[in-house]
């Protein structure tokens, strides 16, 4: 059997107002070549000047990823020719990156794991080629945007772990608010190195570098495909060659782009236009202080302080704003046992948010209104089912739960005299279930409760219905 070994290289657009080495705007989606100047166009004689905010963001991200920020760092030139690269070299960092030696803790079905991060460095992005029938056009709006490159050690052993790493990484970066992490807009890109080896072996196999994945899901799919492809190749007596492969999403497969022999010699050397510099400790300390509570410690606190399950906590802390909203709701909720409010948050509320592609906090219902709805349900004024209908109406109209209940007449019926008729009907119409119940089949009772709920339009109090049914059935 084989073991899969995966290392990920993630590129993030930093959310600075201006580019990495000039004053051009970084806004996305503007008219091609409208956000350019002699510097980012690489015009003769122009020189780069480092955007200090980009450096601060890089340090912030590095610290949040448990990296040690280097006291002495410099930029290097990575030389290669391509029309989207105005200077035909990219300003990047080679042997003295801004930080190194960090880690990210992940949890997958295989359990908890610490994935080490080799380095985090700052570089500039290239422009974009737009291929038309007879010509290729270049848009340099993206050229010179600040990129953060985060390189993991090859320590993930399944596509799932890679997926968890990416999710965890994105979550942390979003907490820091230093990148949009939007794969569709290209503000997060991921290349994956994958190799396989015999279980128990400590030598790395020959790796393939996978490119062109445009979502975390496609990263997972591409890795799964590639692991299988490599295993099958070895099994059939073939040999894996070091190459770069492109993920083809339509056909769900990877295809070879270039082999190692065709790999470029980037001729890295120190960028003479940007002298090496030191990052002083005070600056690092100040940035450290600005880092908010991160998902992992928030998750721990949620489980410890609010008694949340690992699973619930993990879902709630994924996004910083979701977590803040959840905590507001939890604090608002009077009960000591927080499960009901958490169930609502990760249940109906989160699914409404996902359906609208929004964060919990942006649904237009405040924590107070949501907790009020949950309280009404707990007090028996609303059934679970009606509560969902009320929520939908609240989202639609922005009205309070009380107002919706009144308007739509959705209050729960707990009065046994009002429910007597329904109970009678259900017993009459479901003779078989009644017999089953009498023969001791417990499930039959739940079925009958369900029928009664349906007849009441979901408004009946299930607890009262159950009691009434039992009473009636035990009578006869």
């Amino acid at each position: 059997m084989y073991e899969t070994v995966i290392g990920l290289e993630v590129h993030l657009h930093l959310k600075t107002k201006t580019k990495a080495f000039c004053g051009c705007s970084t806004e996305f989606g503007r008219e091609p070549n409208s956000q350019v100047c002699p510097v980012c166009l690489g015009f003769p004689g122009s020189l780069p000047v480092l955007n200090r905010t980009a450096l601060d963001y890089a340090i912030k991200a590095a610290l949040a990823l448990n990296c040690s920020v280097q006291n002495y760092t410099k930029f290097d030139r990575k030389n290669y020719f391509y029309p989207d690269l105005p200077k035909n070299y990219q300003i990047s960092q080679y042997d003295l990156p801004v930080s190194r030696d960090g880690f990210l803790d992940i949890r997958s079905e295989a359990g908890a794991k610490r994935v080490r991060i080799k380095r985090v460095h700052l570089e500039e992005d290239a422009g974009k080629l737009i291929h038309q029938e007879a010509v290729s056009l270049v848009d340099f709006n993206r050229a010179g945007m600040p990129l953060l490159e985060i390189v993991s050690e090859p320590e993930m052993n399944s596509p799932d772990e890679a997926y968890e790493y990416l999710t965890g990484l994105k979550s942390i970066i979003e907490y820091l608010d230093v990148s949009d992490c939007d794969m569709e807009k290209g503000s997060l890109r991921c290349d994956a190195n994958i190799s396989i080896r015999k279980k128990g072996s400590t030598i790395l196999g020959v790796k393939a570098e996978l490119k062109n994945m445009n979502s975390f899901k496609s990263v997972r799919e591409a890795l799964a495909f590639e692991a299988k492809r490599q295993a099958e190749l070895l099994e059939s007596g073939g040999e894996i060659i070091q190459e770069t492969r492109l993920w083809n999403a339509e056909e769900s497969k990877t295809v070879s782009m270039r082999t190692k022999e065709e790999a470029q010699d980037y001729r890295y050397f120190p960028e003479p236009d940007l002298p090496p510099f030191t990052i002083n400790k005070d600056k690092i300390e100040a940035i450290k202080k600005s880092i908010p509570e991160l998902p992992e410690s928030k998750r721990r606190r949620f489980t410890e302080d609010y008694g949340l399950s690992e699973y619930d906590a993990k879902i709630l802390v994924l996004s910083r704003r979701n977590a803040a909203f959840a905590e507001e709701c939890i604090n608002e909720y009077p009960g000591k046992e927080k499960k009901p409010v958490v169930n609502w948050l990760i249940g109906p509320f989160l699914s409404e948010a996902n359906a609208r592609n929004r964060e919990l906090a942006d649904l237009g219902i405040g924590s107070k209104a949501l907790v009020e709805l949950i309280n009404l349900m707990e007090k028996g004024v609303l059934s679970n089912l009606s509560a969902k209908a009320v929520l939908a109406e609240m989202l639609e109209t922005g009205k309070t739960a009380q107002a919706v209940i009144k308007e739509k007449n959705l209050a729960q019926i707990s009065d046994s005299s009002s429910l007597g008729g329904v109970i009678e009907e259900v017993i009459k119409e479901n003779a078989k279930s009644v017999t089953d119940y009498k023969q001791g089949k417990g499930n039959a009772l739940m079925f009958l409760v369900g029928q009664a709920m349906r007849k009441s339009g979901g408004r009946a109090n299930p607890k009262v219905v159950q009691d009434l049914l039992k009473e009636k059935l035990n009578e006869g």
Partner: protein
């Protein structure tokens, strides 16, 4: 006296005395250029209809009063072609001004619309590597003007320019100044902004003045020096008034004479002229001592590794995509790169790009580039040690006077050796000046080089000025 013969400071004086004005000076220079430049070829694209000069008329309140400055073809001037005397930058008109140009304009200078000739991308020591043909030495039209700022130096020497800007990566200001009998100053690395200077070797390049006398160099440096936010390698250090130290005397100044600069390879005639110059300095009160700069012999190899490595990367952008020359009808991307670059870079440019690419290549980097950087540090340390004891270092600017056109063009190594005395200042980042110190029997000028510690331009200006004032050389004019 004809206006064109005057130094820039003399012209300013004329304007102040209302004896002339900027407009008159510019048209007088224009006439002089038309008259003599066909012999010299100091300017490029002279025959083309000239765009209007950017001097906003006479400017009595500004420091430079509208006196024009001639600009080397590798310093970006908004609206005026800047082509580095290379076919690959054919027609390139920068959309912006170099910082030095902005500073000059702010100081009231007029910028001449035609640029001065140079070796392509500043690759050379003779201005023969120009797509516009070689510049000739005003003292002997068969001789080279030196390079790479040969156009600027020859223009100043032939009174075709009041003063000029050049750039110096390994001697490109000082060596042509020496060959043409004018003053050339390379400032400390970081003293003058490189923003807008089309890079040859970024860690070595500096812009500096080429002038008729030392006082003009001080005045021009006053205007162009200073920190620039747009150049991260420029240094935020106060700029003194460089004219203030002139005339303060050099009594007791300690001069180091590095023995490695007076050995085989130095033309005996040049040697004795320089030795006389040293005697003159002594007679003015300076104290001299022969010293050693032990790593001198490595300066040429180190320079040609560092400079070509940086150049190979700096010149990568000339690919036909955005500006300059693009080959006709390429079939694909690689062909566009190959043909564009193949048909428009000159021999020397190609040689240096290949050299630089080689020394940075995988497997060779440590043996060449990295090692060169280490030796560069040793060279720097040599000087640092010297300057703890001495005020300045005095050497010949070049081992020979101007050589004949065509004499060295086929022998790159010989050509490279003409920068042997100037290269160290670039590797160590030091300020250095070349001041005329005599003539050979054939009537060719010889230059004296003075170096000082970083940011001590005042020292080299003071010593050069004292020497100049005590000798007649700067008053000599070539017959044209």
């Amino acid at each position: 006296m004809e206006l064109y013969k005057l130094t820039a400071r003399e012209l300013i004086e004329k304007i102040d005395k209302k004896e002339s004005n900027a407009g008159e000076i510019i048209s007088c220079l224009g006439k002089r250029i038309k008259e003599v430049d066909p012999k010299i070829n100091a300017y490029v694209r002279l025959s083309e209809p000239e765009p209007s000069i950017s001097a906003p008329g006479p400017q009595p309140s500004t420091p430079l009063r509208g006196v024009p400055v001639s600009i080397k073809d590798n310093i970006c001037t908004q609206g005026y072609k800047t082509e580095c005397s290379s076919k690959i930058l054919e027609g390139f008109t920068p959309p912006y001004d170099a910082t030095v140009i902005t500073k000059l304009k702010n100081a009231g200078a007029a910028i001449l619309p035609f640029k001065t000739n140079m070796d392509e991308f500043a690759f050379g020591s003779s201005t023969e590597n120009s797509c516009f043909g070689p510049t000739r030495n005003p003292w002997s039209l068969e001789a080279v003007a030196g390079g790479s700022s040969g156009g600027s130096a020859a223009a100043v020497a032939a009174d075709e320019a009041a003063w000029a800007l050049g750039s110096d990566t390994g001697g490109s200001i000082r060596q042509p100044a020496s060959f043409c009998g004018v003053v050339g100053l390379k400032p400390t690395y970081g003293r003058v902004s490189r923003y807008g200077l089309i890079a040859f070797a970024s860690s070595l390049d500096q812009i500096g003045p080429i002038t008729k006398d030392v006082a003009d160099s001080a005045s021009l440096l006053n205007v162009i020096a200073g920190y620039d936010h747009f150049d991260s390698t420029s240094i935020d250090k106060e700029v003194p008034d460089y004219t203030k130290v002139l005339g303060s005397g050099i009594k007791g100044i300690k001069i180091a004479l590095p023995e490695e600069y007076f050995v085989e390879g130095l033309d005996p005639e040049v040697k004795s002229i320089v030795e006389e110059a040293v005697d003159k300095l002594k007679s003015l009160g300076a104290e001299d001592k022969t010293v050693s700069l032990p790593h001198t012999q490595y300066s040429i190899p180190v320079y040609y590794i560092v400079a070509t490595a940086e150049a190979s990367s700096n010149l990568a952008r000339f690919d036909g995509v955005q500006y300059g020359h693009r080959c006709a009808k390429p079939q694909n991307l690689i062909q566009m790169y190959n043909k564009t670059r193949g048909e428009s870079f000159g021999q020397e440019a190609k040689r240096r790009i290949m050299l630089g690419t080689f020394v940075l290549s995988h497997g060779y980097y440590d043996a060449y580039y990295l090692r060169a950087l280490k030796v560069r540090t040793l060279i720097k340390n040599d000087f640092e040690k010297l300057f703890s004891e001495f005020d300045c270092v005095v050497t010949p600017t070049s081992p020979t006077a101007a050589f004949r056109i065509g004499e060295k063009i086929r022998d790159p190594l010989k050509m490279y050796l003409s920068d042997i005395y100037t290269i160290s200042a670039n590797l160590a980042g030091l300020p250095a000046i070349s001041v005329p110190c005599g003539f050979t029997k054939n009537g060719l000028p010889v230059g004296l080089q003075i170096l000082a510690k970083p940011f001590d331009e005042e020292m080299i200006l003071k010593v050069a000025h004292a020497y100049e004032q005590a000798t007649p050389w700067h008053k000599m004019k070539p017959k044209l």
